[in-house]
């Protein structure tokens, strides 16, 4: 079971070799066994999961099953889920039971995929190590002394440890791709606007995008088929014809032009990561691809630009957490202002407060032009670089993160060092482009290395094709931590 792909699980369900309830039970048992060590889940509710699984079994029995009906999935605790605790990894929402389903949740429910629970994450998706969660750090299944990456660290860890066959994640500056890389799984951030943000608790609205996380590109393609689609409740949702993201998986790669941005192979990149990525390039060439060196000159500004724009939006998005209507409220206060101050001082963790302060600062009177407006201009230049690059290549390839999983606590005291982890992933968010990470090897310590692909707008099917062909030729994505097998 732990090795099965989504299509294999779906085939077993269709052939009545296993029921959705049995499948859910097996994963719940594995969660019960492994989660105490990994801490990938904030909420597990076997009763709810089994009810949903029973409903899926009824659908299968009635011949009304979709392609993934009965296959369970874990959801990042950023998605509002009707009747489930939805915390966003924060004390601020430690008691918030959502009264409605996020669009993404609605889609998985409509597809008949039972929820295995809500996965741990950096508080309000702010972090690259999953150490900022109010519910404790997530441990990397490959080495529990190491971080799983973040902010979708719980999602990445639960898939890596096969506590779930797949998971949802969200990516604002690399939050799907970086933990996927550090945990040795595959994760995809779609083109901005492809997946509705309705019901996904906002961090930075112009950057946030939900996507699938699973062992393989093929799994991700199947999940993307479920997640994408126009939603009238999200004004930034794109009205496009429905695509089948599995359609090009088996296309050969002959003639594929792979762009290698010289800025992504420069100073700061760990040599073992560089070697693994270069080996992957060699592999793709064997499959018929050609390479071309490209330049994303402004990408060096991506981190400063991101740390102006994302906190600016976050400082406003997080204003609703004021203790008035739901969530945490300080127990003692003397006045309205005192209630606000104490609630937010006690309810938010240090990283969230740091970003709210940065955001309020860059938007404040007299600083807006110098920071926020300037950052918006550079954001456009970064997008222009990609537009230029895609004239010379079909897909851009590089490392997902500059290194492999680091030790818990290693970077907690140095926010800038932590922020540098998203050096290669942030540019795609700023440009709104799709990006994915897939396993391409291990370092000497046995920690996974991630390969990043960035495609042009709406080129998810092409990216998945490249990743799938690579995964047919390699087995990095199917490896699992020995001691958890």
């Amino acid at each position: 079971m732990p090795d099965a792909s989504l299509s294999a699980l779906a085939a077993q369900l269709a052939a009545k070799q296993v029921s959705s309830r049995e499948l859910a039970r097996q994963y719940l048992d594995r969660i019960a066994a492994l989660n105490p060590a990994i801490n990938a889940f904030i909420t597990v509710d076997a009763e709810k999961t089994l009810l949903e699984a029973a409903a899926a079994d009824a659908r299968i029995a009635a011949g009304q099953a979709g392609p993934l009906t009965g296959v369970p999935i874990a959801h990042k605790d950023i998605f509002c889920t009707d009747g489930w605790l939805t915390t966003c990894g924060s004390k601020m929402l430690h008691n918030f039971v959502a009264p409605y389903d996020a669009h993404v949740i609605q889609r998985f429910k409509a597809a008949g995929m039972p929820s295995l629970g809500k996965t741990n994450m950096d508080e309000f998706a702010m972090g690259s190590s999953n150490e900022t969660s109010y519910f404790g750090a997530v441990k990397n299944p490959w080495n529990t002394a190491c971080v799983p990456g973040g902010s979708s660290g719980g999602a990445a860890a639960c898939v890596a440890a096969r506590m779930a066959p797949a998971a949802t994640g969200t990516d604002t500056g690399g939050s799907i791709r970086q933990p996927a890389a550090l945990c040795g799984i595959t994760g995809l951030k779609p083109t901005y606007g492809l997946v509705s943000r309705y019901g996904m608790i906002a961090f930075a609205s112009s950057l946030d995008q939900a996507g699938p996380m699973a062992p393989s590109a093929e799994d991700c393609a199947l999940l993307l088929n479920v997640m994408t689609g126009f939603d009238p409740n999200d004004s930034t949702s794109l009205e496009r014809e429905k695509e089948d993201y599995t359609r090009d998986l088996d296309q050969p790669l002959a003639g594929l032009r792979v762009g290698l941005p010289r800025e992504f192979f420069a100073e700061g990149l760990n040599s073992e990561v560089a070697a693994a990525v270069e080996a992957a390039v060699t592999e793709l060439k064997k499959l018929g691809a050609t390479t071309v060196e490209i330049s994303l000159a402004n990408s060096k500004l991506a981190i400063p630009v991101y740390y102006v724009l994302a906190p600016a939006e976050a400082s406003s998005n997080l204003s609703r957490f004021d203790g008035v209507r739901y969530g945490y409220r300080a127990p003692d206060y003397a006045s309205l202002d005192d209630m606000y101050c104490k609630t937010r001082a006690q309810g938010f963790g240090a990283e969230v407060k740091r970003r709210i302060l940065i955001g309020a600062y860059v938007l404040s009177h007299g600083y807006y032009d110098a920071y926020y407006l300037q950052a918006q201009k550079i954001r456009r230049l970064i997008a222009d670089d990609f537009n230029q690059a895609f004239k010379a290549c079909d897909i851009i390839l590089g490392p997902t993160a500059p290194g492999t999983a680091f030790k818990l606590g290693e970077k907690s005291d140095d926010p800038v060092e932590m922020y540098l982890n998203d050096l290669y992933t942030i540019p795609a968010n700023l440009a709104g482009l799709p990006g994915m990470s897939l396993p391409c090897g291990f370092d000497a310590k046995g920690l996974p290395i991630g390969l990043q692909l960035v495609g042009n707008y709406f080129s998810e099917a092409k990216m998945l094709n490249v990743a799938h062909q690579y995964q047919r030729a390699t087995d990095w994505h199917s490896r699992q931590p020995e001691d958890l097998k």
């Binding site: 309705y198 608790i201 939006e313 400082s315 204003s319 957490f321 309020a360 938007l363 009177h365 926020y372």
Partner: protein, 480 residues
Amino acid sequence: MKRGHDNWETVIGLEVHTQLATRSKIFSGSSTAFGAAPNTQASAVDVALPGVLPVLNKKAVECAIRFGLAVDATLNRVNVFDRKNYFYPDLPKGYQISQLAKPIVEGGTLKIVVEGEERTIHLTRAHMEEDAGKSLHEDFHGMTGIDLNRAGTPLLEIVSEPEMRSSAEAVAYARALHTLVTWIGICDGNMQEGSFRVDANVSVRPVGQAEFGTRREIKNLNSFKFLQQAIDYEVRWQIGTLEDGGRIEQATVLFDPDTGETRMMRSKEDAHDYRYFPDPDLLPVKLDEDWIEAVRAGLPELPAAMQARFQADYGVSAYDAAVLTGSRALADFFEAAARACGQGKLAANWVMGELSAALNKAELDIAQSPVSATQLGTLIARIQDGTLSGKLAKQVFEGLWEGAGEVDAIIEARGLKQMSDSGELEKIVDDVLAANPKSVEEFRSGKEKAFNALVGQVMKASRGKANPAQVNELLKTKLQ
């Protein structure tokens, strides 16, 4: 410094919040109906649950386009919603969605008439935004209740240039704006329910000084009377303060109708830094020409155009035309009555005179008038064709008001027809002359007043039904 109010000039600019007459809220599907039980019209979006997103109500945009066209303003083909960030319990998101840098409407003009003189007031801008909820401080024993029914109600904030120079001009502007927004159907104009709220920016400066004085903003005036009182008080207070050697500090003040005074709400030092930035949850609003033209095609004839037409077509004065276009219902009533009788000036006199007086007395508005425009038109036609004298017509009007039937039926039933049989009238005249030899004598000796007394006697004897012109003529003939 010279003292006395004549040495100071008042400068006023108004910001008016008009509630747009849409059925649902600006960013959610909740109803905007007034008066529902607290929080029964607050959806997940209005309550600002985690994860919810705004979706723009196109009807609100259409209202703003209507307004922009009606005041001949520039419609920004691309306009942008911004977030205005501040904390308050009745502001669920911690920010208000508004428009700062790129509002939907810029410029435009509105004509006002003050003491018979017409002036053109320029508008700065008009922008769409959402209303906040309400904090309820009573009935909660030291706590505050929050009602979010109003949160997300669409508003159009209309900002004028500081071009008004007296409270009378400010009131005239506010009234003209009120007429216009109700005329074009974008606002119900109900001031008690807060559908039309006025903020007045007031400053004073020595006559002849070019720069403006420091302004204070009077918030949330919900009647024209309070607007006038608040400005008058504020102007007196500012002049008094300056003449006593004081300084005006920029501030936001509230008007207390009980004391007739304004009092400080917050000073400039307490002013928020709202940290405006474009709302990333909403795309820029794009207005295409087809949409604008479709809205234009649906606009009714506007007050200014109608005033010009009333003067040209019905021969009414500029003043009367302005009064008659005080509301669309009044203008429509007048025009229907004028068409029914073909007598524009008479119709104007009746509508502004007898009818308005009766409506005022009964505290009814024109839409509730018991006398229809067709009935009034018929009544006027009966004056014109000699059936009724003005005096008899008033009696018929009373009958119409009481619902006694149609004009001709009332005349018939009450015997109000003017005497048209000259034989009958001649007999009355002869009787009156015979019975009043003294008056006849006085008239013949040159006393003109005596003639009037004789006319009076004839009218009395005819019980008001004699045609006064006919009486005059007959008497003159007989007395020669």
